[in-house]
């Protein structure tokens, strides 16, 4: 089955060296943020949701945000997403 992330990573080559398997983020029109490979929530509010990923923390700023799905490795944020920041 065609995997979008797999195809992109294939094209870059040297996958292991540059650590492309840590996490994936997809921002769909600033309304849905889909995350693969999170390591746990840090903060949860309607304006800010932050979560850990390997070697970093992702901070999502926005409004009326809801964590509409949360499983061990994936999460989905819905609402008005204004900024996604990695620190």
């Amino acid at each position: 089955m065609f995997n979008f992330f797999g195809e992109i990573k294939e094209n870059l080559k040297n996958t292991n060296k540059i650590g492309l398997d840590n996490f994936n983020l997809i921002n769909i029109s600033g309304k849905i943020l889909y995350v693969e490979g999170h390591l746990g929530l840090v903060t949860l509010s309607k304006e800010t949701i932050s979560f850990k990923v390997k070697n970093a923390v992702i901070i999502v700023d926005g409004s009326e945000m809801i964590l509409s799905e949360l499983s061990e490795n994936t999460l989905k944020i819905t609402g008005k997403i204004k900024k996604v920041e990695q620190i």
């Binding site: 746990g40 929530l41 840090v42 903060t43 949860l44 509010s45 309607k46 809801i66 964590l67 509409s68 799905e69 949360l70 499983s71 061990e72």
Partner: protein, 377 residues
């Protein structure tokens, strides 16, 4: 009603992120909504809610509420409703117990035999429990008990015992019904063949409608009256009369042929178009006719037609001698209409009565018939 089966947890906890992190490692959570610093809501699959609830209780997390939605939850509620289960169980047990018994009897094919006597006989002598009922035994017992029964068959249909009875063809006196034979016509007795009973008439007697011909009893040698069925064949000359009246002059009303018409077209009973010619007739008769203008029923246009026929009177004068044959035939026809089931016409004659301006024709047809029928009170 939601078809998706889900449970919504409303929790009160301080470290929500930590709790959600630990929960999401075991369960998939959806619609996570932080209400304030202390309260959070999330949804999970209905099938997992018990495990999540247990997990939360183990960690002393305060659960404010758990609400459920979906078909499965509704179904499980019904199935775990003890009141309903008890009611179903109770009804089932009650039904299964009462289903073993006969509660109703249906007697078919009886005309002379009393149904209640058959029902009471079965109810008194046989068990009501289906398993203890022997159909053949009931059939035999019925045939033995009631002389009127020629054949009986029984079936159990649900909780009804259906008894089909074929009665014996017994004479009326077996049932204590003794009725006289009465005359249903005006006649002269010509022949009698008595089978049983006592004759009330003899050959040559004139009888009228309702006269008793044979009494339903006999007087034995000791002078005692013994009831028997009245049975006899009685033949008689029956006089069937018909008449026709002739008037030497009478007023005949006839149509002149001139007609006035009035037509009204209606829709739902309301007149929408009228056409008529003025009625100038002094004497007339009216005929009405209503027809549908359109064949379908969507618009019920109807045409009401009124026809007015002009009438006139004339005096008709005829001599009886000129039309005698015609009036004889009329009178004969009237007499023939009264001849029901006549075996044989043995004579016919007519008489004429001349009154002032009127001639009455009486025609009599004499037939030979078997008369007498059982009196039905």
């Amino acid at each position: 009603m939601k078809f998706r089966n889900e449970s919504i947890f409303h929790l009160k906890t301080l470290n929500q992120e930590k709790l959600l992190n630990s929960l999401c490692k075991k369960f998939s959570l959806t619609k996570i909504d932080r209400l304030n610093e202390k309260e959070v809501k999330f949804s999970c699959d209905y099938s997992k809610y018990k495990k999540i609830e247990k997990y939360l209780k183990e960690r002393n997390t305060e659960i404010i509420s758990i609400s459920h939605f979906g078909v499965m939850w509704r179904l499980s509620q019904v199935l775990t409703s003890f009141g309903l289960i008890f009611a179903i169980l109770f009804i089932s047990i009650g039904f299964s117990i009462q289903y073993q018994y006969i509660w109703q009897y249906e007697i078919l094919g009886t005309e002379k035999l009393d149904k209640n006597s058959v029902v009471s006989f079965i109810a008194e002598n046989f068990d009501k429990k289906k398993s203890k009922i022997d159909i053949v035994e009931i059939e035999t017992a019925l045939a033995n008990k009631f002389n009127e029964i020629s054949f009986a068959s029984c079936i159990i249909k649900g909780q009804t015992l259906v008894v089909n009875i074929k009665e014996k063809l017994l004479p009326d006196e077996k049932y204590g019904q003794f009725q006289p034979i009465i005359s249903q016509k005006n006649a002269k007795i010509t022949k009698i063949e008595l089978i049983s009973g006592t004759l009330n008439v003899k050959v040559g007697d004139f009888v009228e409608v309702g006269d008793v011909l044979v009494e339903p009893y006999v007087i034995d040698s000791s002078g005692e009256i013994k009831k028997v069925e009245a049975n006899a064949k009685i033949y008689a000359e029956v006089y069937n009369e018909g008449s026709a009246d002739h008037y030497e002059s009478f007023i005949d009303v006839y149509r002149t042929g001139r007609v006035c018409e009035e037509s009204v077209v209606t829709l739902f009973g309301l007149p929408i178009y009228t056409f008529k010619t003025e009625n100038t007739f002094k004497m007339y008769e009216v005929e009405y006719e209503t027809t549908n203008l359109i064949q379908n029923n969507f618009l019920p246009f109807k045409l009401k037609k009124t026809k007015i026929y002009e009438l006139e009177e004339r005096v008709v004068e005829t001599k009886f001698e000129d039309v005698q044959d015609e009036y004889l035939q009329k009178a004969r026809q009237n007499a023939l209409e009264k001849c029901e089931d006549c075996d044989k016409i043995i004579d016919e004659y007519y008489t004429l009565r001349h009154l002032s301006g009127i001639t009455v024709v009486n025609y009599c047809i004499v037939t030979l018939e078997e008369i007498g029928e059982k009196y039905v009170g």
